[in-house]
Symmetry: C2
Subunit: 236 residues, 2 copies
């Protein structure tokens, strides 16, 4: 069944984005009495289209769902070209990322001012919302504001940085030792990697350098590998 | 260092594809005495450009490399639209797939005759070769001929089929029990999944149905998840 994230709820009526009403009418061609799934406040509901012309959608009942069993995953991702960024956002959403925080790094080719960033962030949030509906999530990944390597010293909980220099500790060794944590933060470097001083700054601030193995992956593949690996680790 | 797969070797000279000579000269702008890495017969060599005009590249020495520790992974993938197929080929190569075998399934939208298929296969092999050079593999994934669900009864070794109906056995349960096998075959269904009779045919032919967890992934994301998960499982 088609799923939509509601932006508001008034009594037992859900208020959707205009683009969702458009999707319901003109893409899905639904009509009165058709059912949809609506997510509001991280809860899932069965809902019914009462009046398609007036955009009236009312709650039928709450659907009980299992809460996710694995820790939250926060990915820190270098600014990349639009297409790669869109791709990471869509795939990471499918693979259950909780938060994506873009970071400025010396080697990342993309530089951007705050005004431009906020505009991009709007677009990225839309991509994550649509991917969340498609993959039937009950949460939409959050997209943080642009951070710098230095500003990450405030990060709490488990903190990892993907390192090409690290030879002894790999992602698996570490994840095995932290099974009961509530959140895993992972910093991913740009094409060409983080500068040594950037990696050292993170390590100084409590980030554990981990290897991802011998394979050479493109930057946009790394988030998918990490999310897949952690999802797999927490399968029961 | 730039890596190329040689198509032949005569004495200590490597013969590359014309497109690779073009890449060396016009994209990388290399010159005489520059070094490159050359893979020939699954061996890696340091090589030197002796005469760039005459395309003379000679072996300097063999580079010793570790053999892969995990089983071979063979993915059976439904025919998909070109862009999704290209994407799977590139990313699966980065993630170390050994063989990709396209399959015809009832629900896959793409139908194709043998002549067209062979043409496509040429293109796909090129994509895999380039991705193998980029990700510094010493093997290029093989791309099989188009198979049907029925023809898969000949498949040997560990055989899995990704199932949306399977509720008890997931990928992790199974992979944990087969750690020492030499090859893992995985069948991935099309958008909308395999028909029940297709899945039953595979099960009758010895394929084990496995769940990939609760997440709803697009078809093109599934191969990446499976490869990442198995790579992670075999990390040491």
């Amino acid at each position: 069944m088609q799923r939509y994230f509601a932006k508001d709820q008034i009594d037992d009526k859900f208020i959707l984005e205009d683009s969702d009403y458009h999707h319901i009418k003109n893409v899905m061609r639904m009509d009165n009495k058709d059912n949809i799934e609506v997510v509001y406040n991280n809860n899932l509901y069965l809902a019914k289209i009462d009046d398609i012309k007036e955009n009236i959608i009312s709650k039928v009942k709450k659907i009980e769902i299992q809460k996710q069993k694995r820790p939250e995953i926060v990915l820190y991702i270098p600014l990349l070209k639009e297409q790669k960024m869109d791709y990471i956002l869509q795939k990471s959403t499918e693979l259950g990322v909780n938060t994506i925080i873009p970071i400025e790094t010396s080697r990342s080719i993309i530089k951007i001012d705050e005004k431009k960033y906020l505009k991009k962030r709007q677009r990225w949030m839309k991509i994550c919302k649509e991917a969340s509906e498609q993959s039937k999530r009950i949460t939409i990944p959050e997209i943080g504001f642009l951070e710098t390597i230095d500003s990450l010293k405030e990060v709490k909980s488990v903190k990892l940085v993907c390192s090409t220099k690290e030879k002894t500790k790999n992602l698996k060794n570490i994840v095995k030792t932290i099974k009961d944590c509530d959140k895993i933060n992972v910093v991913i470097g740009p094409e060409g990697g983080l500068l040594e001083e950037e990696e050292n700054t993170l390590i100084k601030n409590g980030f554990i350098p981990v290897s991802l193995g011998d394979r050479i992956m493109r930057v946009e593949t790394v988030p998918l590998f990490i999310l897949s690996a952690i999802n797999y680790e927490y399968m029961e």
